[in-house]
């Protein structure tokens, strides 16, 4: 009986912990955000004023239109590029495909604002390319700032989502389906549009949602390269920073509007996907063909060009990190000055980055595995609640989460702003849903009779969980965790709101250095991040034994 109580306690403890984490650090802040949004700063009375204010002033609502237009364009472009790339990579033999794939994944996992600022270094007002064009040909290069810059950077950064999703779907198409189409006299481009495209449409939609959410929520890119082109996250951020004194009601209202938009998009996508979803399992994947002659050359040229464009920011950053600087200005020659500077003045940011993301990951692994176990093996109404709660982070942009946390924990008795804890918690909230989902998927593949076998041999259910279930889940969960760790070290949009001097992370430091136009140190920091990302990727491929990545 005694034993039974302890067992009951552990799982109840996990349930409670999950509810506390999500309730306290997601639902409660979100709730206070909405309350703040509808509150008059002076009287505290209910008001729609902030919303009417937003929709009255062109300056404000234009940011919503801007966000929408640039996000939609990014999504469409990413779908086109990602799908075409996936199609050729899956259907035809491509030289150096492994390297191509790894490059694509690296460009996906690196922080987007690195892209933004390297493109500024290349094509900005005093960029290398701009100046070269100017001095050699007297050509005025088109501006990289504003809409086109955001579009360029985000598309190059986000098409890999579509690529990864669609490649997965193409692998699961049974060759017999294609052969059936061909036997019915359907071939070439018609085959692609009548058979293949419909089969991968649900997958494209799933990827499109990821792209849309990421593009919509992205803060760093438009902040750096947007200039006059205001988008919502930037607007929210600057309003929030300016407003902090009085309650930040208006920023909260804008954040609320953004959450409405992302929720609507999320629900719309779910609705469409549910209506057209089906499962495919391929017995015999499609065989890769070979292109010949000019087509082959064109295909390779296209792929290599795309990959090169995606990697330009990384290479640019690494290159500039070794340039000699004088203060913030680059001078001729090479040196390690930038590195010296960051190790002497920004060492703590480097430490913080690894510390915070590692703490977050440990917590995510623990909660991810135990909560996944609860929601798949010990279903109850409470676990249903948790399941629903964990959907929320998908629709809440990072900067909005940052603001909600700050609003909610800015006062006694729960004064957490400025602590490392709150940054770690924001990382946990944002990444846990992904780990949870993949852990559940892994659990569904482990037969419950494994656990029953262990119990029948005398191990209590709790012991069984740790000795059998957890051990069997671990490889899958670990490889997912590495990816989460990579995104955690590169995270900017919520930490930029939550950080204080002592809790600065590398991505925040890069951002502030770029704002100060101290490009050398920013580049050195970025290089460290990129190298870490690549190292973690290598570990990921070793641990998982896989050649692909799902986020």
């Amino acid at each position: 009986m005694n034993k039974k109580l302890i067992r009951w306690d552990f799982w109840t403890g996990v349930t409670l912990l999950a509810i506390v984490v999500f309730g306290l650090f997601l639902i409660y802040p979100l709730f206070s955000l909405f309350v703040t949004a509808f509150q008059d700063p002076e009287t505290g009375a209910f008001t729609m004023g902030h919303f009417t204010h937003f929709f009255d002033r062109r300056y404000y609502y234009q940011s919503m239109i801007n966000s929408f237009s640039v996000t939609t364009c990014v999504t469409v472009l990413a779908i086109i590029i990602g799908t075409i790339l996936a199609y050729f990579m899956s259907m035809y033999r491509v030289r150096g495909r492994n390297i191509v794939e790894i490059c694509i994944i690296i460009s996906l996992l690196s922080p987007p604002f690195i892209g933004a600022y390297s493109w500024i270094l290349i094509g900005g007002r005093s960029g290398v390319l701009t100046q070269w064009l100017q001095s050699s040909f007297g050509i005025e290069a088109p501006s990289i700032y504003g809409f086109s810059g955001i579009l360029l950077v985000l598309t190059l950064k986000l098409y890999p989502f579509i690529y990864l999703y669609v490649s997965g779907a193409l692998k699961s198409i049974d060759a017999a389906l294609i052969e059936a189409a061909e036997s019915l006299g359907c071939s070439g481009i018609r085959k692609v549009f009548t058979v293949i495209v419909p089969l991968i449409t649900p997958t494209i939609l799933a990827g499109a949602l990821m792209v849309f959410m990421n593009a919509m929520a992205d803060f760093g890119t438009p902040m750096l390269i947007g200039e006059g082109f205001n988008v919502m996250p930037v607007m929210i951020y600057s309003e929030f920073i300016n407003e902090v004194g009085d309650q930040a009601n208006f920023a909260a209202a804008m954040a609320a509007i953004m959450v409405f938009i992302t929720s609507a998009i999320f629900l719309l996508q779910k609705y469409i996907v549910n209506r057209k979803s089906f499962t495919m399992s391929s017995l015999r994947p499609i065989q890769m063909g070979e292109l010949h002659g000019i087509r082959n050359v064109l295909m390779h040229a296209g792929i290599y060009l795309l990959v090169a464009l995606s990697l330009v920011p990384q290479l640019m950053v690494i290159y500039t990190s070794f340039m000699k600087t004088n203060g913030a200005i680059f001078v001729d020659g090479y040196s390690l000055d930038s590195y010296r500077t960051i190790f002497s003045s920004l060492g703590s940011a480097i430490q913080n980055t690894y510390l915070f993301s590692t703490c977050a990951i440990v917590f995510i692994i623990f909660l991810g595995m135990t909560v996944a176990y609860l929601t798949t093996r010990r279903k109850s109404w409470l676990t249903e609640v948790i399941d629903t709660l964990t959907m929320f982070p998908y629709i809440i942009p990072g900067s909005v989460l940052g603001i909600t946390l700050l609003l909610a924990f800015n006062d006694e008795p729960m004064l957490l702003s400025g602590t490392a804890f709150i940054i770690i918690i924001s990382l946990v909230i944002r990444r846990l849903p992904y780990t949870l989902r993949s852990s559940s998927a892994i659990l569904y593949q482990i037969s419950p009779s494994m656990e029953e076998a262990s119990i029948s041999l005398g191990a209590s259910p709790l012991k069984t969980f740790f000795r059998i279930t957890a051990v069997m889940m671990l490889p899958g969960v670990m490889s997912g965790a590495i990816l989460s760790w990579i995104t955690a070290i590169n995270e900017l949009s919520s930490s930029v709101i939550l950080f204080t001097g002592a809790t600065k992370t590398m991505s925040v430091a890069i951002y502030t250095e770029v704002i100060r136009a101290s490009y050398g140190t920013a580049a050195a920091l970025s290089t460290i991040l990129t190298v870490t990302t690549i190292a973690a990727m290598v570990i990921f491929f070793k641990v998982s034994g896989r050649k692909d990545v799902t986020l």
């Binding site: 037969s447 009779s449 494994m450 029953e452 076998a453 262990s454 029948s456 041999l457 005398g458 259910p461």
Partner: protein, 372 residues
Amino acid sequence: MSVEINVNKAVKKYGNLTIIPGLDEHIKNGEFFTLLGPSGCGKTTLLRMIAGFNSIEGGTIAFNDKVINDIPAHERNIGMVFQSYAIFPHLTVRENVEYGLKLRKLSKEEMKRKVDEILDVVQITEYQDRLPERLSGGQQQRVALARAIVIHPSVLLMDEPLSNLDAKLRVEMRSAIREVQKQVGITTVYVTHDQEEALSISDRIAVMKKGVIQQTAAPHTIYTRPYNVFVSTFIGHSNLFHATVRADGQGKAVVFRDGYSMPMENLSDEAADGMEVIVSVRPEEFSIQAQGLKCKIKNKVFLGKYNTYFLEFPEEMLIPDQPSIEFSQDLGHAEKLLDIDEEVTLRPNAAKVNIFTADGERNLLRGVVLHE
């Protein structure tokens, strides 16, 4: 130590659905007890109630005199062998077998001795350091068996442990299991829906239908003296005829609808004159005689040792909805082979046939009981 299992009015419900309405059974210490029945009848459910993986909604299940309803599965000291083997993939064969012993805090030497011994008994010593994924199905099943037995469980529970193996291996493993079980002398509850497997391996068989035990008896009894029509048709084939009991001064007989009267020695007292009954005749209980039931050969199949003939009787003689009426002729002793469309007279062997009440619920022969 091995125990006897007493199931007393056990009830299993899923929501409003009653799967097992109240089941009584007594499983003897050390016996090999098989649950047999059609798919969905509740065999797995009952086994998992004994194991502790299913809750018990009513009645009790006891090991010896100890009611185990509220003891969690891991404290019941059971050994379980699963249909899917459920070998832990991250442990070697030896570590799999050691798993349960480690939880029991044995000394190193004792553990080693026990594991060596059981690996030897199930003949997997040579694979002990391999990871299970590189074992064949039969080898994995042996590991599962060794892992379950090595902890000296009170009872050994097996749910269709052989159904994932091919036919030949199934027969081989069947005798291996039986041998090991006898050697260790452990109370075993075995679930299968393969009747041949059940008949060959068991000390006793319980035939289940819709959560109710239809008969518990030794394999031979189950086959020769089924308790009701369900058992007689579920195990092997039985041909069912309408008949009427006739009792007079000289003794009792059953009269078929075509007027053929078959004297019966072993009818119980309940069988009174004029009673409507069902006569169940197995295909091998017919013989070609001058006197008997007239029928026509509809079709025949040659099966090596036997010829099986499919028979046509006047419809009113037969219980409706039978898949086929069969006569199997032992070719070792057959004097005359029959042809399709030939008319023949077959006599049932009165000493072998079974007589059931008209509703098919009970056997009217003396000495046939529900629980043997």
